[in-house]
């Protein structure tokens, strides 16, 4: 045997592509190899095939082999796929069965952290699907000492669940518990963002500002992290603008990137902040836990220049540091004229480069002529009003067209096999919507909403299932003619399955219609809201222009 192998190796090393003839099997397979291969095939499908295919194969495995260690490992992988496919109840049942004590089933190599990560993933999916009760139940299944990153994820999810349920106070309580053990910066930025919002909403302005400031000053990398940083600064900027603290708001808006998803809104806010009064320097507050290993006076002084007190020297229990800081401020020009002139800079930039159908651009279009009129530049004000009205009326017509099309309830090929992903372009084509900036902007906004996105994914999945069921029914009906050994027992089974497929097809068709209607209704509601806003802008622009003409006509020549 060795000689044969050696010979083969020599041939391969020499790079000669010749037939290697092996007359007999040259390795001993383990017993029950047929069963092992089927389990291994399940593992292969769990990693390579679409979820539905892998799950259908899993259903076919005999129950007797489900206690096999490899089978359980494959089942856990599959449960993970189920989560992605939306079969959350089934995944929950399997996790309850297999993740109670994974080391018993799967050996010590299967760590508690892996197990907890799976439960958290499931909890997150339940939350995405709008069931916070199940999400909380899944979170409760995590146990033991979680690594800091995982603990942060758990807290972040808890906070989202509390906030979406209107319990900001509980979210804050959870944050404070975390702060007693960790540095707040160790928490994932998204969790901190949610916490900051919860604190602001419940009136803890300085503390909320401190948490949001920590997100807004993060050394973020990657698009998502940078967008979150921008969002934190934007939220803070508008909060201080609302509180008439223009100097603080200006500095916050200026932190936002000029090429990110929030650039338009930031430019709009910056213009308003330029006009707003400067106000007083604003303070933020935050709590940090200093651990022994972190203690370094120079680092602390560098990180927290406004520390009120420093921890005592030496190792000991973690110490809570209440720190405060002041936001940077950017003072505006001294005269009102200067402020108005300054506000024009970001707004003109926004109108020139921003999303032409976006709310921020539309608002800037109306604000610009107002500023010109205030500055006494009547000719520019008149031109700007004309431009704004022309733009707004076009957007209004486009949005009315969307509303009409959505109400008409026409669908191009209602059961057409969908695109690989549920995108706004796919919905636009499905609903025969025109290709305009208003449509694109509106649908893109809708897709950014978690529930809408999930509903669109569900519609896409159902359309794929619809096609699959149709193909299955045809295949089933023609099975006897293609199969040479079709017995009467198989014919009975075939008829039963055909009936089941037909019933399922009907349910799928109904659900597709309902989902389509739901998505249309949500889009229609949002488009109506957008159109109302447009009409307000149009009426303001018309009123402003009329007042301007009146002022021009009444002024002495």
């Amino acid at each position: 045997m060795k000689a044969i192998c050696k010979g083969m190796a020599v041939i391969l090393v020499a790079g000669v592509s010749l037939a290697a003839v092996a007359a007999v099997p040259d390795f001993e397979p383990p017993q029950n190899r047929a069963v092992s291969l089927r389990i291994a095939h399940l593992g292969y499908l769990a990693n390579t095939a679409p979820a539905a295919q892998a799950l259908a194969y899993a259903q076919r495995l005999p129950r007797s082999i489900t206690s096999d260690r490899d089978a359980i490992r494959a089942q856990i992988q599959l449960s993970h796929q189920m989560v992605g496919y939306g079969l959350l109840q089934q995944a929950t049942t399997r996790y309850r069965r297999y993740l109670i004590n994974p080391s018993t089933y799967l050996g010590a190599s299967y760590s508690n952290a892996q197990r907890n990560a799976l439960w958290l993933d499931l909890a997150n999916a339940w939350h995405q699907h709008g069931n916070n009760q199940q999400a909380q139940a899944a979170i409760k299944r995590t146990y033991g000492l979680l690594p800091q990153a995982l603990a942060g994820q758990r807290l972040s999810l808890m906070a989202r669940i509390y906030i979406s349920g209107g319990h900001s106070d509980r979210a804050i309580e959870a944050l404070r518990k975390w702060q007693n053990r960790h540095q707040v910066e160790a928490l994932a930025p998204l969790a901190r963002y949610n916490m900051g919002i919860a604190l602001l909403r419940s009136g803890h302005r300085e503390e909320g500002a401190g948490v949001l400031n920590s997100v807004g000053t993060d050394k973020a990398t990657g698009n998502a992290a940078l967008a979150l940083r921008d969002m934190a600064n934007l939220t803070l900027g508008f909060a201080y603008l609302e509180a008439k603290q223009g100097a603080t708001a200006r500095a916050l808006f200026q932190r936002i990137r000029l090429n990110g998803p929030f650039t338009d809104t930031a430019l709009l806010g910056l213009g308003w902040a330029d006009i707003a009064p400067d106000g007083q320097p604003q303070t933020w507050a935050s709590a940090h836990i200093i651990h022994c290993a972190d203690f370094s006076l120079s680092n602390l002084l560098h990180s927290y220049p406004l520390l009120r007190r420093l921890p005592s020297r030496g190792c000991g229990p973690p110490k809570r540091m209440d720190t405060t800081g002041k936001f940077d401020t950017v003072e505006g020009p001294e005269t009102q004229k200067g402020r108005y002139e300054q506000a024009l800079v970001p707004w003109l930039k926004l109108v020139k480069n921003g999303d032409q159908a976006g709310s921020a651009t539309l608002e800037a279009l109306v604000a610009i002529p107002y500023v010109y009129a205030t500055l006494g530049a009547k000719r520019q004000a008149s031109q700007a009003y004309t431009r704004a009205l022309s733009h707004l009326v076009t957007a209004d017509q486009q949005s009315k067209q969307i509303i009409g099309q959505l109400q008409a309830d026409t669908t191009a090929s209602p059961y057409a096999t969908p695109a690989a992903e549920a995108t706004f372009t796919w919905l636009k084509q499905r609903w025969n919507l025109p290709d305009s900036p208003a449509v694109n902007g509106q649908l893109r906004d809708m897709m950014n909403r978690a529930r809408f996105h999930q509903a669109a994914r569900n519609l896409r999945d159902l359309l794929a299932l619809h096609g699959q069921l149709q193909a299955n029914s045809q295949q089933l009906a023609g099975l006897a003619s293609h199969a040479p050994h079709f017995s009467s027992a198989l014919t009975d089974k075939q008829n039963t399955l055909l009936q089941q497929a037909s019933a399922l097809q009907k349910r799928t068709t109904t659900a597709i219609k309902q989902l389509d209607t739901y998505l249309r209704d949500v889009t229609l509601t949002a488009t109506n809201r957008y159109q109302n806003k447009l009409e307000i802008f149009i009426s303001h622009a018309r009123a402003g222009r009329a007042l301007l003409f009146e002022a021009i006509n009444s002024s002495p020549q």
Partner: protein
């Protein structure tokens, strides 16, 4: 309208716009602004979709079983699985299987599939019917680079063939084969 009234009206316009800006930001900062009606509707539909998916998978499993029973009866069923040990990365690019000179299956492997094989997965390369008796099998590995040829003696009853890709002497990847009885 005098200039004072005009100015007041414009200021109102400004304040309304400001309020809109702030409102839009508050809405954006919080959870999506769907109404409770839409939330409820979403949950009900989502539940319905999940139930349909689960039932479709069950039906698919039954259909696959029926199809296999009908098309590949136990007495002649022959399935070929591919497995792999730890081998040099990307060493398995493609396989082509021929029986008695006829090409019956071929597959080009993706990175993900190679990884799944290395993680103790098994790919079902082929399922078909094979008459009792001796058959000549050829496996072309990575195009025509290498070839494994052997004879299979098919007896009555379902049979499996396993093609195993592994690291042989001097870490050179090789393929070996083994036959097994399958469950009816």
């Amino acid at each position: 309208m005098n200039s004072h009234t005009a100015s007041a009206s414009l200021r109102w316009c400004l304040l309304t716009a400001l309020a809109l800006a702030v409102t839009s930001t508050v809405a954006f900062a919080g959870p999506s602004g769907d109404s409770p009606h839409f939330k409820q509707q979403f949950r009900a539909l989502d539940k319905q979709v999940r139930a349909i998916k689960a039932d479709t998978i069950k039906l698919q499993a039954q259909l696959d079983t029926l199809r296999e029973q009908a098309q590949y009866p136990a007495r002649s069923r022959w399935i070929v699985f591919v497995t792999s040990g730890k081998v040099a990365a990307d060493s398995l690019q493609s396989l082509a299987l021929s029986v008695d000179g006829h090409r019956v299956a071929s597959h080009d492997y993706s990175k993900q599939e190679r990884k799944a094989l290395e993680d103790q997965g098994a790919q079902r390369l082929y399922i078909g019917n094979l008459a009792n008796g001796t058959h000549h099998v050829e496996v072309a590995i990575n195009g025509k680079q290498r070839q494994l040829t052997f004879d299979v003696n098919k007896s009555t009853g379902p049979r499996l063939l396993e093609l195993h890709w592994y690291s042989g002497q001097n870490d050179q990847p090789q393929m070996r084969h083994s036959g097994h009885a399958d469950t009816p």
